[in-house]
C-alpha cells in the first residue's frame, strides 16, 4: 500500500541484538538522560510570589476612570453597552446637580453602572467605543467569589481609586497604563 504522506516511518521489527537484550545499557542511557534534567532550568514560576509579565495588550477586568482631579469621566452615553457583544453592561444616567462638579467631569453621569463579569468576554470593545476614556481593561484577572450575584460588579467595584485621596491605590490600579503614552 502506498503511503498517503511522506511522513511515515517504518517500524524496526528486527530481533534485538545481544546488547539490547541486556537492557542495562539502555537503562543506563535512560538514567543519564533523566540525570541531565537535574541541571536544566525549571520553567515553573512560583505563582503568587512571582508573576509572569503581561503582554502590553492584556485585557483584564474593567475599570471606570477618573481624571487627575478625581472626577468621573463617564457620561453614561451608553456607547459601551451598545458595543458590548455579550450585553454585559447596563447603566442609568443622571444629570449633574450644581455643587457636584468635583464629582463628575461633565453634566451627565452614570448613576448606576453594572458589568456582569460572568457575561463579559473581555473583548475590550467597550474601551474602544468609549469617547471619554472612561472605561478601560486593567490587568486584574483572577476574581473569585462564592456567589454568582457577586460577579455583577457595580460602580463602586469598578471605579478607580481617587487620585488625590488615595494616590497609592490609584497608581497601583493604573498599572502599566501609567507608563504608556496615551494617544489622545
Amino acid at each position: 500500500m502506498k503511503a498517503l504522506t511522506n511522513k511515515v516511518k517504518p517500524v524496526n521489527r528486527a530481533p534485538m541484538s545481544f546488547m539490547e537484550k541486556l537492557y542495562l545499557p539502555a537503562i543506563v542511557h535512560g538514567m543519564a538522560i533523566t540525570f541531565s534534567h537535574i541541571f536544566k532550568k525549571k520553567p515553573t514560576i512560583n505563582y503568587p510570589e512571582k508573576k509572569r509579565p503581561f503582554s502590553p495588550v492584556f485585557r483584564g477586568l474593567q475599570i471606570l476612570n477618573r481624571d487627575e482631579e478625581g472626577r468621573e469621566n463617564c457620561t453614561a452615553c451608553g456607547l459601551c453597552a451598545v458595543a458590548c457583544p455579550a450585553e454585559a453592561i447596563t447603566m442609568e444616567a443622571a444629570e449633574r446637580e450644581s455643587g457636584e462638579e468635583h464629582l463628575y467631569k461633565e453634566e451627565k453621569y452614570a448613576a448606576k453602572y453594572e458589568i456582569n463579569m460572568l457575561r463579559c468576554i473581555f473583548c475590550g470593545l467597550c474601551e474602544e467605543a468609549c469617547p471619554k476614556d472612561a472605561i478601560y481593561l486593567s490587568e486584574t484577572f483572577t476574581p473569585a467569589d462564592y456567589q454568582r450575584k457577586q460577579f455583577i460588579y457595580n460602580k463602586q467595584d469598578l471605579l478607580i481609586p481617587h487620585p488625590k485621596e488615595n494616590p497609592e491605590a490609584y497608581q497601583e490600579a493604573l498599572g502599566n497604563r501609567a507608563n504608556k503614552t496615551m494617544v489622545n
Binding site: 538514567m31 533523566t34 540525570f35 537535574i38 536544566k40 532550568k41 525549571k42 515553573t44
Partner: protein
C-alpha cells in the same frame, strides 16, 4: 547484686538504641517520601513541594497529619481482624530488619563500650532474609482480607514476585558468603575495613542483589503489586487513612533498610573509603563519623532507587517473571559456581 546492675545497664543501653534506631528510621522514611517527591520533581523539571515550611520541609508532617484525619473505612465484606493485621505486619517486618544492622562502631560512655548494633547475631544475614520474606505476608494478608479482586490480584503479584526474586537474591548472597566466610554483618564490615569492598569481588552478585532489592521493595520497575493504572492501587485499594499510610510508609522503610543492607554487604557499611580513619579519630568521634559515612552511602542508594523509579517504566508481568526465572536465577547460579571455583583455585 553486681551482675544485676550490669544487666540493667545492658538492657537500658539496648532499649535506648532500639528507640533511637526505630525513631530514626521512621523519621528517615518520612523524609524519604519528601525526597522522593523532590527528586521526581527535579528529574522532571518541576519544583516539587515547596509550600509547607521552608523549602517544603514540613510537607511529610502535613501528609502524615492528613492521613490521620482521613476517614477510617473498613469494608463490610472484609475480614476485619486480618484487614487490620495486614498493614501492622507490613510495618513491623519493615522495622524488624534494622535490629541486626551495625550502624557504627562502638562508643564509650563512662568507661562502658556500647556497640552501635542492637543484636550482633552470628546468622545476621539469614535473619535479614527471613524477616524480608515475612514482609510479603503483610501485603498478602491485607490484600486477601480486603475481599476485592484488584487487591487480591495485587497480593498475588506481590507474593509471586517476591518468591521469584528472593531465589536469585539468596543465590547471589551465597556467592558473597563464599568470599566472606561468615554470616555476621558486623564481621563483614570489619573484613571490608581492612581489604577491598565486597563489590570489587562480587560485581555481578551486587548487580543481581540490587535488581532483586528493587523487586523486594516493590519499587518501579517492579511495582506491579500496586500498579495504579492496572489495579487501582493493587493490594491497598480498600485501605484508607493511616492503615494506607502504614502500607506506603513500610515501603519507604523497606527501601531505607535495603539501602542500609546493600551498603553494609557490598560497600563496607560504616567504613570510610580510602581512609584509615581508626588512626585519625578517637573512639567516640570515630563511631559518629562512621554513622555519617553509612548514612551518606544509604542516601546515595536511596537516590538511585528514586532515580530508577522516575526513569524506567513498569515491566509487563510476563517480562517480570521472565527476568526473574530465566535470567537472574541462571546468572546468579553461574556467579555462585564461578565464585566457588575461583576461590578454590586461589587457595
Amino acid at each position: 547484686m553486681m551482675l544485676q546492675i550490669i544487666d540493667l545497664a545492658f538492657i537500658l543501653e539496648k532499649l535506648i538504641l532500639i528507640v533511637v534506631v526505630i525513631s530514626a528510621s521512621l523519621v528517615i522514611a518520612m523524609y524519604t517520601t519528601f525526597a522522593e517527591r523532590k527528586v521526581a520533581a527535579i528529574l522532571q523539571d518541576r519544583r516539587g513541594p515547596n509550600r509547607a515550611g521552608p523549602f517544603g520541609m514540613l510537607q511529610p508532617l502535613a501528609d502524615g497529619l492528613k492521613l490521620f484525619f482521613k476517614e477510617e473505612i473498613i469494608p463490610d465484606f472484609s475480614s476485619k481482624f486480618l484487614f487490620i493485621l495486614g498493614p501492622a505486619l507490613a510495618m513491623m517486618t519493615a522495622m524488624m530488619t534494622s535490629a541486626v544492622i551495625p550502624w557504627g562502631d562502638v562508643i564509650e560512655i563512662a568507661g562502658r563500650k556500647v556497640s552501635l548494633q542492637i543484636a550482633d547475631i552470628d546468622v545476621g544475614i539469614l535473619y535479614v532474609f527471613g524477616v524480608v520474606s515475612l514482609g510479603v505476608y503483610g501485603i498478602m494478608i491485607g490484600s486477601w482480607a480486603s475481599n476485592n479482586k484488584f487487591s487480591l490480584l495485587g497480593g498475588l503479584r506481590a507474593a509471586s514476585q517476591i518468591i521469584s526474586y528472593e531465589l536469585a537474591m539468596g543465590i547471589s548472597m551465597i556467592s558473597l558468603l563464599l568470599i566472606t566466610g561468615n554470616l555476621s554483618l558486623k564481621q563483614m564490615v570489619l573484613q571490608q575495613q581492612h581489604g577491598f569492598y565486597n563489590v570489587v569481588y562480587q560485581p555481578l552478585g551486587f548487580l543481581i542483589f540490587l535488581i532483586c532489592a528493587f523487586a523486594e521493595c516493590n519499587r518501579t520497575p517492579f511495582d506491579l503489586p500496586e500498579a495504579e493504572n492496572e489495579l487501582i492501587g493493587g493490594y491497598h485499594t480498600e485501605y484508607s487513612s493511616m492503615k494506607l499510610g502504614f502500607f506506603l510508609f513500610s515501603e519507604y522503610i523497606n527501601m531505607f533498610v535495603s539501602s542500609v543492607i546493600m551498603s553494609t554487604l557490598f560497600f563496607g557499611g560504616y567504613d570510610i573509603p580510602f581512609i584509615n580513619e581508626a588512626a585519625m579519630f578517637s573512639t567516640n568521634v570515630l563511631a559518629i563519623v562512621g554513622v555519617v559515612a553509612l548514612m551518606i552511602k544509604v542516601a546515595i542508594f536511596i537516590f538511585i532507587f528514586m532515580w530508577v523509579r522516575w526513569t524506567i517504566p513498569r515491566f509487563r508481568y510476563d517480562q517480570l517473571m521472565h527476568l526473574g526465572w530465566r535470567i537472574l536465577i541462571p546468572l546468579a547460579l553461574f556467579n555462585m559456581l564461578a565464585t566457588g571455583a575461583l576461590s578454590l583455585w586461589m587457595k
